[in-house]
């Protein structure tokens, strides 16, 4: 392991205090579970002078239900999320996703907000300082070029969070806390298709909570990811599928992906499938649709064509499983 550089650690007790410290200290970063962030700090990818630890803020650690929605605090741990009876019964893909993140010890520390804000990943980026320096860095960090697509002007680092696709299929919204107060937006608008700057958050904003409407509570869903090992690995490709059926016809379907783009992606044109019979043909239709829209690049050691192939196979498999349950 690389050594930990010096920084000042802050432990605010409230969102307001956290925002205030952030405003006052330039060159600062929020950290929640730290399971990914601290690795990046040790590697010199992030070099903060101030680290603002959000783990002491009690107000963001609750899962609560009111008449219209389920509210998940951004500081809820992945372990709590995976074990929540409400999540397991009403939003099963989210529980699947939480349980599939890294290893069980990471899940004790990692948080919902942290996983949604996970930095994009690339083989040429998630390396030591010596390594990146020896490779002239890259456009995502201190360098000029992209080693994945030399000559290109875009960064293709892959979004690799597991929760986002599972929440996207339930039309989740996020409440954002900032110096100018609170704003709420659709989860998909938290992201943009840019590996260098994939979050639409301002640097002094933080996610307070995630909101899931009761309208879709209980709508059947599943999440699965392809990975080489059954633990630890980030998704090579992951898919969440939510399917409602009636008389073996598709009543409602939403599919979202991770690991194959710089942002978690909702598959387009699934509404065209509504009303179709569920059979091998429609299953294949979904598979091909997913394969067409997924755009993995060489950001991992595993071949991009394989990841595209597999993400289609996963979506098809999940749709099939949901259709026979």
């Amino acid at each position: 392991m690389e050594y930990m550089p010096n920084f000042k650690l802050h432990r605010p007790k409230s969102k307001d205090e956290a925002a205030q410290i952030k405003n006052e200290s330039s060159d600062s970063l929020f950290v929640a579970g730290g399971t990914d962030m601290i690795v990046n700090v040790r590697r010199g990818i992030e070099q903060p002078h101030h680290l603002i630890d959000l783990s002491d803020i009690a107000e963001v650690k609750e899962i609560s239900q009111d008449k219209s929605e389920l509210v998940i605090g951004s500081g809820v741990t992945l372990n709590s999320l995976a074990n929540s009876e409400k999540i397991k019964s009403d939003y099963p893909a989210i529980a699947d996703a939480a349980l599939s993140i890294a290893g069980s010890t990471h899940q004790q520390y990692g948080t919902v907000g942290g996983n949604l804000c996970l930095d994009t990943r690339c083989l040429f980026y998630n390396q030591s300082e010596w390594w990146r320096q020896s490779n002239d860095y890259c456009m995502k960090e201190r360098g000029e070029i992209c080693h994945v697509a030399p000559g290109g002007k875009r960064c293709f680092a892959a979004f690799s969070g597991d929760l986002a696709p599972a929440m996207l299929v339930y039309n989740a919204e996020v409440k954002i806390h900032g110096p100018n107060g609170v704003r709420q937006l659709a989860l998909q608008d938290l992201y943009r298709n840019d590996g260098m700057n994939h979050l639409t958050l301002e640097s002094n904003e933080l996610i307070a909570s995630i909101h899931l409407s009761n309208n879709l509570a209980g709508s059947p869903s599943k999440y699965e990811k392809a990975r080489i090992r059954g633990s630890i690995d980030f998704p090579l490709a992951g898919a969440a599928v939510r399917l409602e059926k009636e008389n073996n016809k598709i009543k409602d379907i939403t599919v979202a992906l991770t690991g194959v783009n710089p942002f978690p992606q909702i598959i387009k044109n699934t509404e065209a499938m509504i009303g179709m019979d569920i059979n091998e043909k429609t299953l294949d239709l979904l598979r091909e649709n997913v394969r067409k829209q997924a755009k993995p690049m060489k950001t991992t050691t595993v071949a991009p064509w394989y990841r595209r192939r597999v993400v289609g196979a996963i979506a098809k498999r999940l749709m099939h499983e949901l259709s026979v349950e």
């Binding site: 040429f124 320096q133 392809a226 690995d233 050691t301 394989y306 597999v310």
Partner: protein, 770 residues
């Protein structure tokens, strides 16, 4: 009255004697030694793959406050290396750098941040040279030589033809051949490399703690490189978190640490990051194998003709031995009437590989067993039967390269896996995408000729007996988690008939324990075990004589029952402490010694140059059946079950043997399906535990271990190798099972899902076309 009996320790499952320290966290590993005033050492590593060094300007780094020393390749002009015939590596590069990450300079400073700042101030000026990352590129016409004395970048060219291979191929009814590429892999042991060097400038005395499997070789190299007398150095190996061959030679980190400690006139600690541990490497080389087997219609092998090319990295390390093992160890498993081998060890601009678990044989055995399976399918012979057809014939088990084989449990291993896996009824009847595969392997129990041939015993053990009637086992055998200290204790306890609780142990401290060559090539149980038996017998003789004196009888009348020595069954006898008292009267504390030497008959063949490599006192044998399922959509491979039988001669500690065999399966599984280092322009891109994918416990299949005991006539209580053979067998058994499951045969390693899916899709396309 209860019958008094000696206590037995052999063949009984025993927890490891150093287990409690490990599980309670009390065990101290090299990085845990942080003496007061300890400086932090950090290494400046080359950012380029191949270059002439123009200048290493350390002036700014030296003048930074808090920096105590900065050293470069100028610090020593003495090269090091494990093989006396191939010592041309320097602790820090001198004239040239030859791989990305090669040490160029080292800083010792008061803390890690200062050390890093100093590293950033070093100005490295160089002139780049063409770099070669594959064996083919390095061997190509006109390639620049990495080392002037290795023209064509060939480190070693091995060529032998024993028997009449051309004739054997002519007589064959069927000849099959395939080409295999086996990726370079690394050990990924849990403890990254670490060293602490304390230089006492008043006495000019150096003490080094290091995470090593070979403290003795380290000791010698420290003396050579620092130009000190060996007597001025104390080498200590504390607890070590695994080795698997990556620490089977002295590493640059130990040498650099000592050099910079001397320069700083103090104590320096260097703890390598995981990435630096990958760069230090000494894993298994990338190997290209061309394998050809000729058989009769009944499956009898008439000849084997094969070639191996190893990407040897920038320096030799164990390279010459590896490429020789790859040839010599083709013998000894089956009865082969003719074998031709060409082996090329090539120098490339990548980190140097080493002697990884399953040293030399793994990749060529993989190719052979994979191809033999294909041959069996082609002939319509059962894959187990084709192996039975080619067994060595006892009792002399002669091989063309004159191996010394006195025990051969392979037939029993085959019987065991065949029965336990339900092979006869289940093979071919598992349904789609599920299959069974078999493969066999063997491995030596230590090299009969040591690296440094000075005529000294192969192993020495001291047993110290004191007035407290306890026995201390003093052994230089490096305990690296494999259980060597437990094994040495068991052997001594068994001979003396005492419970193991009478024993304590001190290991691997050059000032206290006898010299030992180290933990590698599966030598320790065989050699150190025999030395321990010898020492215990010597001690027992002393105790018997003392008891005889005390009881006023002849020594031959004394019966040793462990805790009681008596002159006859009616005699109450003397308790062990009383015998000890009698033995120490007049002489004081006793230390006895036991030795082991190999027999000249086991020193290998003189039929070709390097034929001594693969000579051993005994060979362990394994047969393995693997059951897999393959997801037809994603080509994800699940190892459903493994039946692993290994002939270990005698399981001295069945618990430890089982652990070794299970560990072998896991490690083999990594190489087979997910592990492989990757480089981008010589820069290791998988040098961390996320991108270099070692299987986790989730991937661990149920493993049925079958211990076969052929009782080797020269082994300690009949024991042989237990820690490497089963790794070798797993890999081909797995690919053979995949071929059985999906109809396509993977050749290259690792069989990753993307690679397999491609094979499966091509196969489908081909089938559709036909």
């Amino acid at each position: 009255m209860n019958e008094i009996k000696p206590t037995s320790s052999i063949g009984i499952p025993k927890p490891l004697v150093d287990g409690p320290e490990k599980v309670t966290g009390k065990a101290r590993y090299s990085a845990d030694f942080i003496p007061s005033d300890c400086l932090v050492g950090r290494i400046f590593r080359s950012p380029v793959s191949h270059a002439e060094i123009m200048e290493v300007d350390i002036s700014d780094a030296l003048s930074l406050p808090g920096v105590k020393a900065v050293i470069t390749g100028e610090e020593t002009d003495e090269p090091y290396g494990v093989l006396p015939i191939a010592r041309f590596e320097y602790p820090m590069a001198r004239d040239k750098v030859r791989y990305k990450g090669e040490p160029v300079a080292c800083v010792a400073a008061v803390d890690v941040e200062t050390a890093q700042k100093a590293i950033d101030l070093i100005k490295f000026k160089y002139k780049e040279l063409p770099a070669y990352y594959t064996s083919q590129d390095a061997m190509a016409e006109g390639a620049v030589n990495l080392h002037d004395h290795r023209p064509g970048n060939v480190e070693r060219d091995v060529d032998f033809d024993l028997g009449d291979t051309d004739n054997g191929l002519t007589e064959a009814d069927l000849i099959m051949e395939e080409k295999y590429n086996c990726a370079e892999i690394a050990q990924v042991q849990s403890e990254p490399h670490a060293a602490i060097a304390e230089y006492d400038s008043t006495r000019e005395f150096l003490t080094v703690h290091a995470s090593t499997q070979v403290p003795y070789y380290g000791h010698k190299m420290l003396a050579k490189v620092l130009k000190m007398k060996e007597s001025q150095i104390r080498m200590i190996k504390p607890f070590v978190g695994g080795g698997f061959g990556c620490r089977t030679e002295c590493l640059n980190i130990e040498l650099i640490c000592a050099l910079v400690a001397r320069a700083a006139k103090g104590t320096v600690r260097i703890v390598a990051s995981r990435e630096e541990t990958f760069i230090t490497h000494r894993g298994r080389p990338e190997t290209d194998v061309e394998m050809k087997i000729g058989v009769k219609n009944d499956g009898t092998i008439t000849a084997v003709d094969f070639k191996a090319i190893q990407r040897g990295g920038a320096y030799s390390g164990y390279g010459v031995v590896t490429i020789l093992y790859s040839g010599g160890l083709m013998f000894g498993l089956y009865d082969l009437p003719a074998v031709r081998y060409r082996g090329l060890r090539i120098l490339t601009n990548t980190p140097p590989p080493g002697a990884m678990r399953g040293h030399g044989i793994t990749d060529v055995r993989y190719a052979f067993e994979n191809l033999l399976d294909k041959v069996a399918n082609k002939l319509g012979v059962d894959p187990i039967e084709i192996r039975r057809k080619n067994l060595l014939e006892g009792p002399k088990y002669e091989t063309l390269n004159e191996m010394f084989i006195n025990s051969y449990g392979l037939p029993e291993c085959l019987d065991w896996v065949e029965e336990k896996s339900g092979w006869k009824s289940r093979k071919g009847n598992l349904g789609p995408n599920r299959g069974l595969g078999i493969a066999c392997a063997h491995y030596p129990s230590g090299a009969s000729k040591p690296v440094n041939w000075t005529g000294e015993p192969h192993a020495t053990i001291h047993l110290k007996l004191d007035w407290d009637a306890s026995i201390t086992v003093l052994t230089g055998a490096p305990e690296i988690g494999q259980g060597s200290t437990t094994m040495a204790t068991q052997c001594a306890a068994e001979v003396l008939g005492l419970d193991m609780s009478r024993f304590q142990s001190l290991t691997s401290d050059s000032k206290l324990t006898p010299k030992d060559n180290g933990s590698y090539s599966s030598r320790v149980t065989y050699m150190v075990g025999n030395a321990s038996i010898d020492a215990a017998k010597n001690l027992k003789n002393i105790l018997i004589e003392a008891a005889a004196r005390k009881l006023e009888v002849k020594p031959e009348d004394i019966e040793c029952l462990g805790e009681v020595y008596r002159a006859g069954s009616q005699d109450e006898g003397l308790s062990f402490p009383e015998v000890v008292q009698a033995a120490l009267e007049g002489t004081g504390t006793i230390t006895v010694k036991g030795n082991f030497d190999t027999l000249p008959e086991s020193w290998g063949t003189k039929k070709y140059r390097g034929g001594a490599i693969s000579g051993s006192m005994a060979y362990a044998y394994a047969a393995q059946v693997v059951e897999v399922s393959v997801d037809p959509d994603t080509a994800e491979i699940t190892v459903e079950k493994v039946w692993a039988a290994q002939d270990v001669g005698k399981a001295l500690n069945p618990l430890a043997v089982e652990g070794q065999i299970e560990g072998s399966v896991w490690m083999g599984m990594g190489q087979a399906i997910s592990e492989g280092t990757k480089y981008v322009n010589g820069l290791g891109i998988t040098n961390n535990m996320l991108d270099y994918r070692v299987p986790t416990i989730i991937e661990s299949p149920p493993i049925d271990v079958g211990i076969i005991e052929s009782v080797d006539p020269h082994g300690p209580f009949g024991a042989k190798e237990a820690g490497e053979t089963s790794l070798v067998a797993f890999i081909p058994a797995l690919t053979n099972a995949i071929a059985d499951a999906v109809g396509v045969r993977p050749l290259d390693l690792p069989v990753t899902s993307d690679h397999l899916l491609e094979l499966m899709e091509n196969y489908k396309t081909r089938e559709a076309a036909e």
